[in-house]
Amino acid sequence: MADVTGTSPQTAQQVIDTYFMEHRAKLVDIAAYLDRIDRGQGEFPDDFRDVAFRKAIAILTDGQTHRAKRILELFSDHTTQIPQSAEGMKGAAGAVAFAATSSVEGDAS
């Protein structure tokens, strides 16, 4: 992957000054989301999206760059099969499973 060191027009300190509050809120949102799952009733689900999500969180703290790219790759379909038709297929789920059990619709454009 390309070396992107020093490509921001801001210093690292300026980046923190500019974006800390915004991303503090997003981080707390993720924490609250995980807490909400824990508080959910019934058995803890074996959901491929949740599995991928927690793997993605590990990428955030692995000390390597290109985190956004690597998380998007983690969520991507890497199979090479091409089905004949979309008939009966569900909408995009945002993560990959070979036996998808649920999905959400993607957007239009």
């Binding site: 390309a2 992107v4 490509t7 921001s8 027009p9 801001q10 500019t18 974006y19 290109h66 956004a68 790219k69 998007l72 790759e73 969520f75 991507s76 379909d77 890497h78 199979t79 091409i82 089905p83 004949q84 038709s85 979309a86 008939e87 297929m89 995009a92 789920a93 945002g94 993560a95 990959v96 993607g106 957007d107 239009a108 454009s109």
Partner: protein, 272 residues
């Protein structure tokens, strides 16, 4: 300041969106044919849609002082039935050379073609629409799939395009993200970033991508449509870049100069 939003679905937006965009500096938009949120029941439905894009919408835009251009195709989501898709494709040539509309012909090329669920049927129709562009010497605007299907779909699309004789410099591949942008640019295509809440790129990430991958052969657009989207996403991204200290030259390049350069390859694109 002035900018071009090179991908927005104004048929799904209200007239006051045109007015707000004009107030924010928008001077021109291009509108690719897309999925309306439901599957059309006949090719005639597309004929009417193409007339809306080539005759009615340019007048609505002009009332706000914005020039309107368009791209025609059958979108990938409705292209999974090859027979139906071919009926729609057969309608397109007459529109390519039409001089209807306020400025004469406003069709810039074939788009937004691509893949949705990465199926063989979609791929067949993609190849036939690439051939349509080849035959009529048209530029191409490409839709790439969403979410988990994007990486695989983008590569399939690029392979299909590379098998044609169309110069990659006349093709823009839209909805790139961090995991697809480098490959798109490396293969000689133009890249589009779509600023779309929740599922695509935020203004912050668009600025990140420009910082990491450069400002050549790249633009940004709102792809505003009937979903959760923002017709003012491009001017908001300009503000984001300015906040970080990017020069006005760079900001203008990715939001005005680059779209103008790419689109001007079509004889129908003329800014007044």
């Amino acid at each position: 300041m002035k900018y071009i939003d090179p991908h927005i679905h104004m048929v799904s937006r209200t007239t006051d969106d045109y007015q707000r965009m004009a107030q924010a500096g928008c001077v021109a938009i291009t509108e690719p044919a897309f999925w309306a949120g439901y599957d059309r029941s006949s090719a005639q439905g597309f004929f009417d849609y193409f007339r809306q894009l080539t005759e009615y919408e340019p007048k609505r835009a002009a009332a706000a002082g914005i020039q309107h251009f368009t791209w025609l195709c059958i979108n990938p989501k409705e292209a999974d039935d090859p027979g139906f898709a071919r009926e729609v494709i057969s309608l397109i040539p007459d529109f390519l050379n039409s001089k209807e509309g306020l400025f004469g012909g406003n069709v810039l090329g074939i788009g937004e073609i691509g893949l949705n669920k990465n199926t063989k049927n979609e791929l067949i129709i993609l190849e036939e629409q690439i051939e349509l562009a080849e035959t009529h010497n048209q530029m191409v605007l490409v839709h790439t799939p969403h979410l988990e299907d994007k990486l695989k779909g983008t590569r399939l699309i690029m392979d299909a395009l590379s098998a044609s004789s169309i110069d990659p410099g006349r093709i823009l591949i839209d909805h790139v993200e961090e995991h697809t942008v480098a490959e798109v640019l490396d293969r000689g295509f133009w890249a589009g970033m779509t600023l779309y809440p929740d599922t695509k790129v935020t203004p912050q990430r668009a600025a990140d991508i420009i910082e990491m991958y450069g400002n050549e052969r790249i633009w940004m657009n709102s792809a505003g449509d009937w979903g959760c989207s923002d017709p003012l996403a491009v001017p908001k991204a300009r503000l984001e870049m300015r906040r970080r200290g990017h020069s006005e030259d760079v900001i203008d390049k990715v939001t005005y100069d680059n779209p103008q350069t790419f689109l001007s390859q079509s004889p129908n694109f003329r800014l007044s």
